[in-house]
Symmetry: C2
Subunit: 344 residues, 2 copies
């Protein structure tokens, strides 16, 4: 997801404030992030040339590196020693775990695009994507072992298991409109928020501030939910050219997300029949996406999803209340706002 | 791969001796193995029901559990305390890593059968197989973290990375008859022998016998190569009904294995053209497998592959020379013989 300059959807406005918040955080942590990027490139190496080639394709495709940034920020917020480098190594682990799940996700979703570029599976094939995902996952654990903290290993191996559970639960709920909002939130917590929470928490671990782990974990957890809710909203609202995201992917895959659930439950019998045909029975015609967008618009389901995201973003900000005021703390609070501003 | 009662291929004879060796090892370690099986079932649990369902499908399908058995045997051979249970937990980790790679392999190979039963991807779909593989991999690391040995974590995370490298290298060499035997052996060492070696080595680690790690690692490494060479031979020789293996899978996928390389290099111009058409260009007709088997027979490529395997099996046995004589040591030496006897 790139720069949000403009969008055709009424709920998506210029998000200069949001972009500024992320840019400000990146600026505060620019040296750490540069070191993290160097670690990522160095640790992708393998005598099997296809591995760094494929990994570079997805890693170089950019993305915001939000998750490793959170590890770096959390460590610094906890007063981690200026000369310390453990947080850089562990931030790279977080990005590797994330990249591995992206590679497997794209295979599972049969995606052809990722961040506006051809996805790794589209370029290199599903087989290579599965296996290089496995490699990055293993390499992440190697890096953690080198760091030597069993606590970090426990947090990130737990997160990895939770991510897989969330992804499987998403698969199980696919095409099932009887999925409750609570179950949808279980999916979101598993597939997205667990790694956000873990990324933040290990920052406190490397800084040896155990009393800060819970608050940072809560910040990450809520930020992750807000982030995913907005992502799910954008799939029915994003300006494809601007976001590099194909609008309607979730619709075509029959994914159960909050905009669909809200529109389905608010709809009349004819509308519910439409959703049951398109989402549950996967019988879709060319004009159906436009109709789905119209129904979601009628019931203001995007706005309601973003409002829900804003509540989680506020909870994320509140979780940092116990930290002394600092530029970094203010920046993290603003980043929580960013997740929702990118869609307003 | 089940009981080898008989086979239609001349190189595959009754293998009572081989089966006896494995049965004897299993008998010596029956209590440990029962505990390991209980751990495997207990640790597959997840609130997401599809995970234990799918995992049970592949785990219950049986297999010999050779890799966890090696961890149990290595620990006991090193005099690990009778009341100790760490080796049981770690043997389960080894099986989980192996199972995760099997799930991903079957997706990558588009296999429909595994050990004579429908493969997990055939029953549950590719998506679920990829994600449950990820879950089992993460769960393996959670169990290792609970065990608490950074050395074990280092050994198994290294093995996991090496397996992925071996699998990617196999993908790269697929359909490429210019692959050297050395490169084929790199694939075998990566995709198979690395986990055999690691499974054995961690037995010495839990028994706190660091001086034994190298020998056990060498035993596992050579045993793993022998095992894979025989597996590759059986793909052109196995009696499908007996082994529960579809003969000719490797041929249809254009996998570069030793029987093919040997027959290709020994062949005349017409034969090489046949291999180039079928393996390199994947242009296969119904009668091609029979012709491939005939060429492999003519050049005694199965026998040559099994001979090569026997050399590695002998090296595996020799690696145990430094251990005092015991029933367990004799049994492990006989198991090395088993890998090749199952194909004679």
């Amino acid at each position: 997801m790139g720069v949000l300059a403009s969008s055709s959807h009424p709920a998506v406005a210029t998000a200069a404030q949001g972009e500024d918040a992320l840019a400000a955080l990146l600026h505060l942590l620019r040296d750490d992030m540069a070191a993290c990027n160097r670690t990522i490139v160095a640790q992708m190496k393998s005598p099997v040339a296809l591995i760094p080639q494929l990994a570079a394709h997805i890693v170089a495709a950019g993305g915001k590196r939000l998750r490793p940034l959170l590890t770096l920020a959390a460590a610094r917020l906890c007063g981690y020693a200026v000369e310390g480098q453990r947080h850089v190594q562990l931030a790279a682990c977080v990005e590797f775990i994330h990249t591995a799940t992206l590679l497997h996700d794209d295979v599972v979703d049969e995606s052809r695009l990722r961040r506006g570029l051809e996805s790794a599976n589209a370029v290199f094939g599903n087989k290579a994507s599965v296996l290089v995902g496995d490699f990055l996952f293993a390499r992440a654990f190697q890096l953690m072992v080198r760091d030597g903290s069993l606590e970090v290993l426990a947090i990130l191996s737990q997160a990895a298991a939770t991510i897989a559970e969330g992804e499987v639960l998403q698969l199980v709920t696919q095409n099932d409109l009887s999925t409750s909002e609570a179950r949808y939130l279980d999916v979101v917590q598993g597939k997205t928020a667990a790694l956000f929470a873990a990324a933040c928490r290990i920052g406190a671990v490397v800084a040896e501030q155990p009393a800060r782990e819970a608050a940072l974990s809560e910040y990450g957890q809520n930020l992750g939910i807000a982030f995913q809710l907005v992502d799910d909203a954008l799939d029915y609202a994003a300006d494809q050219a601007v976001l590099g995201k194909t609008i309607g992917d979730d619709f075509r895959e029959g994914k159960i997300t909050l905009p669909v659930l809200l529109a389905y439950h608010a709809g009349d019998a004819a509308e519910r029949a439409f959703w049951e045909r398109t989402i549950e029975r996967s019988e879709q015609r060319a004009e159906d996406l436009a109709h789905a967008l119209a129904l979601i618009g009628t019931h203001r389901a995007i706005e309601a999803t973003i409002d829900r995201a804003a509540q989680y973003a506020a909870a994320a900000a509140a979780a940092l209340a116990g930290f002394p005021d600092s530029e970094l703390r203010r920046s993290l609070i603003e980043v929580a706002g960013y997740t929702t501003h990118r869609a307003r």
